[in-house]
Amino acid sequence: MSSEVRFITKNFGKYNPDSIDSYISIGGFSALKKAVKMDGEDIASVIAAAKVKGRGGAAYDMGRKWSQARAVKGEHKLVICNADEGETCTFKDRELIKNDPFNLIEGMIIGAYTVQARDGYIYMREEYRHLRPRLLSAIKQAEEKGFLGDNILGVKGFNFRLHLYSGAGAYVCGEGTALIRSIEGKAGRPRMKPPFIKVSGAFALPTCINNVESFSIVPHLLLDDSNVYTNCGNGESIGTKLVSVGGNVRKPGVYEVPFGTTVREIIFGLAEGIPGGRRLRLVQFGGASGKVSDERILDTPYTYDDLKAAGVDVGTGSLLVIDDRTSVIDFLRYTQAFFSHESCGQCTPCREGNLHMKLLLDKLAAGEAHPCDIEKMKKIANIMTLTSLCGLGEAAQNALLSAMKIFPEVFAVGGAH
């Protein structure tokens, strides 16, 4: 079975991403034209029926999110595209913006129509600043053609404008409430929920946030009369997914695979395996906040349920492949360093927990750890997961806790304390 499909990425290379005319010539904006003849609730239903889950990491039911956002009352609502893509080894949103910016914009306009939003924001990480001119020009061209502005496509009262905001090197700003503060012109420190973003988001307005890939699916899905998307995958995992494969593989890159492709096909087929005849040490799924496994995962089908049963998650859709030159502990220390650097420092469990975790990992690496240190790690990890204010502190120890299950020998230190 050959594993790549082109659905979300079907426009890649088919048009000039700097020209709206070129996009229109391949059928661009026909999904929007179809959408404005539909009831918003029906658009949400199409997405719900295809069981699309948010592609930013949390896998929240997207049809449901849009339907809820639509139901929130408010004169002025917002949609936000989360293009902060800060997880390590994740670069699929970069490819979507680079190769198909107009499809993303079309997806956002359809989103605005569905949830009845008046303004939209794309929050893109500073690291992708080279893509800013392309997006800015795409927005401008869409305004000139009347796809953005007032009474879009002649639909009375369908007014929508799009704004491009830049992050500035803070991973935590991918978290919804932090992102919103950043858009408001503040430092991006997360806040407590409630109030929930859908009710009180940016500028205290009802807000619907989705990932780049999530928005990008929508135009294709609305036009998918022959059910190409829904014929892929099964159960809760319908359709295709962009995976970013990196680390020790011959052909790192972004691949679109149907759900159900095995992990082996992704790593050894599409990414062509590990170079230099070396052995696989571990795979981390879904970015720095993701869990790890070893070669036991290779024959698992890449679906939400199968991965979960095997102890990992789809997350952002990244697969970081690490060969036997890197030890499990070094991997954990590098990952840990990322969270120490990115913790906003606002709440104690995450700020202090990360610090202590670093010290304990260093001790383990130096061969000086006692069994009680391993217990301490578990305890701190659990406290962080249970009591951190935001998802960063909650997920920071996913790699460690999963590694403890997969590689118990690494943590089997001898000696009484």
Binding site: E127, H130, G169, A187, N248, I322, D323
Partner: protein, 166 residues
């Protein structure tokens, strides 16, 4: 030396003019302060936002200078301290590290004769360690003023990138 540079910084008419243009392009919208600071930082040869500039923006926008400093110190792409003409950002994420970014870092240190966080004597280069900037498909990678240079697995390649900037 750094404090000297800070005190010595004064805003030329040309720079003031350029900053005014950035503010105008952002409609003097204080919610866009992060984007404004990023663009202004690009205008300063040492890639940072000097105190005088922070106060200038605070007055012109207007916005409280404390908010500007909250942003300058919170966001790692912004700096309130002088950097260099070419800050060399090396990715230290696990993806680049398993592709031997340790050797790349050593090579950079040797060629430039500086440690991480230091600036070369002529103010041109400095080395900064940063987390993943999404160039994992071309690891190991560096980024200089927004441009990514990947596959830097030999000293020759590193040398040629650096000399292309001379």
């Amino acid at each position: 030396m750094q404090t000297e540079a800070k005190q010595a910084f004064s805003i030329s008419d040309e720079l003031a003019n350029q900053i005014d243009q950035v503010l105008a392009a952002h409609d003097h919208d204080a919610t866009q302060i992060v984007g404004i600071l990023l663009e202004v930082q690009d205008l300063i040869p040492q890639q940072y936002v000097p105190e005088a500039v922070a106060f200038y923006i605070a007055e012109k926008l207007p916005i409280k200078v404390s908010i500007i400093y909250d942003c300058l110190t919170f966001y790692s792409s912004l700096s309130d301290k002088p950097r260099a003409k070419y800050p060399v950002e090396i990715c230290r994420s696990v993806v680049c590290r398993v592709n031997d970014s340790d050797s790349l870092l050593d090579t950079l240190k040797k060629i430039l004769n500086i440690e991480v966080g230091e600036v070369t004597y002529d103010g041109r280069f400095m080395i900064e360690e940063v987390p993943c900037f999404g160039a994992c498909d071309v690891a190991p990678a560096i980024r200089i003023n927004g441009k990514v240079y990947g596959h830097l697995d030999t000293p020759e390649k590193v040398r040629s990138v650096l000399s292309s900037l001379m």
